[in-house]
């Protein structure tokens, strides 16, 4: 009975997938071709194994991924990786989800670190322990916090980041401020005041701007000595001093008119903040270290990167995405997929990836390599995230966190838009989230 249900659902989902566009159609035929070659590989070695790789980075970073995949394909004659861009993290997750139930899932994909728990708990991911026994030690331990779920290894760090404070150094110098940026919340507040410019009651330049995003909120909570979840992960712990401080910090600066909360939801707001920064409409923003290359190239001023300013202490969550292998893939594809994952996250690739994007290198060897050290001398901004790693913590990753983080963001927004006090908003978030976390 259960089985029948499943296959019927798979049919319905499959039909919908076929209807909704040739994109998924293509994926389906790709999957079939891959399955075919997988069966043959036992008898016929000449046929290369095809694997699908879905990624979630557009623009320059996406182009780099494409070119790295091409390099892999050129150097590995027995494996053909077919990369496909699937939109941002949210969109990629949704597409992987639909593909899993329709049975045409990719073999390798990027999963945002906070969602690893949800995917692993649902048994969607392949346990990588047997594959990675002799390679796992090469990765930086601080980046493996979101790789394990219930003591099993499910994900390998790839494009890993922490939030940073980006500075328009020219603007800071012009205002007579230290071009290395503020070190604490008070200083950030003071810098923001000094950088803000108003003309005739209209603000033309804001000192500071950040998307009201869960990731930056997590950073500020850590800096205030708190944590998002209780230790057992069954309760939201933000209705506390440490949870309230960031919200009040933001709302005070917004009321004062020295911080801009960029309009737009989710990554739309990030884009606005970055755009404002490049156009010199704001002096300082929070964004990911992964934006370092892109912002440095498009900005016509001296871009600086600094630690997230401290409240009680320095602190930041790690972020970005890990590479995972899907449990539903056939064995031959899984083996090929592991080769690909191992290669993508190996030292030479990691150095290339890091220096051309701003994401952190993921192997210890890469960080200590001469190449990287030389690069840091010419571009010290790129080392800031690696140094900040000392104070960084893994993101919460219990399965319900996917929904909980949206609840928190909605409530933060409510407070920022003045529809609730900080206390009401946080209490609301706690009440709603605890039902999901139990």
């Amino acid at each position: 009975m259960k089985k029948w249900n499943m296959s019927a659902l798979a049919c319905v989902v499959g039909l919908t997938a076929l209807l909704t566009g040739c994109g998924s159609d293509k994926a389906a035929t790709g999957g079939n071709a891959a399955a075919g070659s997988g069966q043959q590989s036992g008898t016929e070695q000449a046929q290369p194994v095809q694997i699908d790789f879905w990624y979630a980075l557009g623009g320059k970073n996406g182009e780099l991924i494409e070119s790295m995949v091409k390099e892999f394909n050129d150097t590995h004659k027995d494996i053909v990786v077919k990369p496909a861009y699937q939109g941002d993290y949210y969109q990629n997750h949704a597409k992987v989800l639909a593909a899993i139930s329709a049975g045409n899932q990719p073999d390798v994909t990027m999963v945002e670190v906070g969602s690893i728990g949800a995917f692993a708990e649902a048994k969607a991911l392949e346990d990588l322990q047997p594959y990675a026994a002799d390679t796992i030690d090469r990765y930086i331990p601080g980046l493996l916090g979101n790789s394990y779920w219930k003591d099993k290894l499910y994900a390998i760090p790839f494009n890993r980041s922490t939030p940073l404070l980006y500075l328009n150094r020219d603007m800071l110098k012009a205002a007579g401020l230290d071009p290395n940026g503020p070190k604490s919340w008070e200083e950030l507040h003071e810098y923001a005041q000094k950088l803000t410019k108003s003309e005739g009651g209209k603000t033309s330049v804001y000192g500071f701007s950040t998307p009201i995003d869960i990731w930056f909120y997590e950073a500020l909570v850590i800096e205030s000595g708190g944590s998002i979840l209780s230790e057992d992960g069954k309760q939201l712990a933000i209705n506390s001093e440490a949870g309230k401080a960031p919200l009040e910090f933001w709302t005070n600066m917004i009321k004062e008119g020295v911080m801009k909360a960029p309009p737009g939801e989710k990554y739309n707001a990030w884009d606005v903040a970055k755009q404002d920064f490049v156009n010199q409409k704001v002096g300082m923003i929070f964004t990911s270290t992964g934006d370092l290359k892109g912002l440095s190239e498009s900005a016509k001023f001296d871009v600086g990167a600094a630690f997230m300013p401290a409240n009680k202490e320095y602190g930041a969550p790690t972020g970005g995405a890990n590479l995972v292998i899907l449990a539903k893939s056939p064995d031959a594809e899984k083996k090929a997929a592991w080769e690909f994952v191992k290669w993508m996250t190996d030292t030479p690739q990691s150095i290339k990836w890091s220096t051309q994007t701003g994401y952190m290198p993921v192997t210890k060897e890469a960080v200590e390599s001469e190449e990287m050290k030389k690069y840091y001398e010419t571009a010290p901004n790129f080392e800031v995230a690696v140094k900040q790693l000392e104070y960084a913590k893994a993101r919460p990753m219990v399965p319900a966190y996917k929904e909980v983080q949206e609840i928190i963001m909605t409530e933060l927004q409510r407070a920022v838009l003045n529809q609730a006090t900080a206390d009401e908003a946080l209490q609301n978030a706690v009440d709603k989230s605890n039902k999901l976390l139990k």
């Binding site: 319905v12 039909l15 989800l97 949800a118 989710k266 739309n268 927004q413």
Partner: protein, 313 residues
């Protein structure tokens, strides 16, 4: 010999009878055969999914792992109906639908009355009013987002140019829903107008001539002739517009993603969010069933209230 003839002659009508019976059966079956392809299509894509979604809505499940479905009875419905956010979603959907339908039909009716004349300008206006209908809503949404940017957007620049204060558009809970209504109305007006013009032109001219002879005023002509004669068109637009507003998704997904603070979250987007972002398949299915029920009820309600007011010739 004799026997054989008898047998033959007896057989012949019998055969004919058989053929007739067979033909009779065939005539009975034939219409079903004709509709079979359509029936199969509708079954595969409408009836079976509808039944199946009702079935799915009583389980707790996620698309990530279909092997573990837990039967929860009406719990999903109970959760939804007691959830304040879902109430907000329903309210948003209602407000959006009423506003879009009233504005969309009202504006296009006025436009159609104006455009239903033979003037030079008319063709140009018709084309430009209709053009939003054929542009992809996704790209249009991105354009509107840019137009509505509170700081650098064209709309606020225009407002300031004519001396009005800047508007918050998508950035505030009070204005975001209205902004989405604006985009939807802009999108739908062209299509409605064309349909109205087609309706207007099919009204027999002799009615107007008779009215003119009777010295009817323009208002009387409109009320007593145009609107009643146009009622089937009006009815058609009312139903299609209501259903499509109920199912709004693209603009939300691109422009607001339900925010700020759920102020633009509507049923279909909510279903997507629950099913695809939060992996709550059961809640998403239950919400889908509620959507189906609401749209069905509304359509029945429309038919019932309009049944006496719609004049078919």
């Amino acid at each position: 010999m004799q026997k054989a003839v008898v047998a033959n002659s007896a057989n012949a009508p019998l055969l004919q009878q058989e053929v007739a019976v067979k033909a009779g059966r065939l005539t009975k079956v034939r219409p079903y055969l004709y509709v079979l392809p359509a029936l199969l299509f509708f079954s595969a894509f409408f009836f079976i999914p509808i039944l199946y979604i009702i079935y799915l809505s009583v389980f707790d499940w996620s698309l990530l792992n279909l092997e573990e479905m837990e039967w929860v009875g009406w719990q999903n419905y109970a959760d939804l109906l007691s959830d304040a956010d879902f109430h907000q979603v329903l309210l948003n959907t209602m407000l959006f639908t009423v506003a879009t339908v009233v504005l969309g039909i009202g504006l296009s009716f006025l436009l159609a009355l104006w455009l239903n004349q033979k003037r030079k300008l008319v063709a140009v206006v018709q084309a430009s009013v209709f053009s939003p209908h054929i542009i992809s809503l996704v790209s249009v949404s991105m354009l509107w987002m840019w137009l509505m940017d509170p700081q650098y957007g064209l709309l606020n620049a225009l407002l300031e140019f004519i001396g009005l204060p800047a508007y918050t558009w998508l950035a505030d809970t009070k204005s975001a829903l209205l902004s989405l209504v604006l985009v939807s109305v802009w999108k739908v007006v062209g299509y409605n107008t064309i349909v109205f013009i087609a309706g207007l032109q099919s009204i027999p001219k002799d009615l107007y001539e008779a009215a003119a002879l009777d010295r009817s005023t323009r208002w009387q002509t409109l009320r007593r002739i145009t609107i009643p004669m146009l009622s089937p068109t009006l009815f058609f637009l009312l139903i299609t517009n209501t259903i499509s507003s109920f199912q709004v998704f693209d603009t939300i997904s691109i422009m607001t993603q339900g925010g700020p603070v759920n102020s633009t979250n509507m049923l279909v987007y909510y279903i997507y969010e629950q099913g695809m972002d939060y992996y709550n398949g059961g809640l998403a299915s239950a919400a889908s069933v509620i959507l189906l029920g609401l749209v069905g009820l509304l359509t029945v309600f429309h038919f019932w209230t309009m049944r006496k007011r719609v004049h078919y010739r």
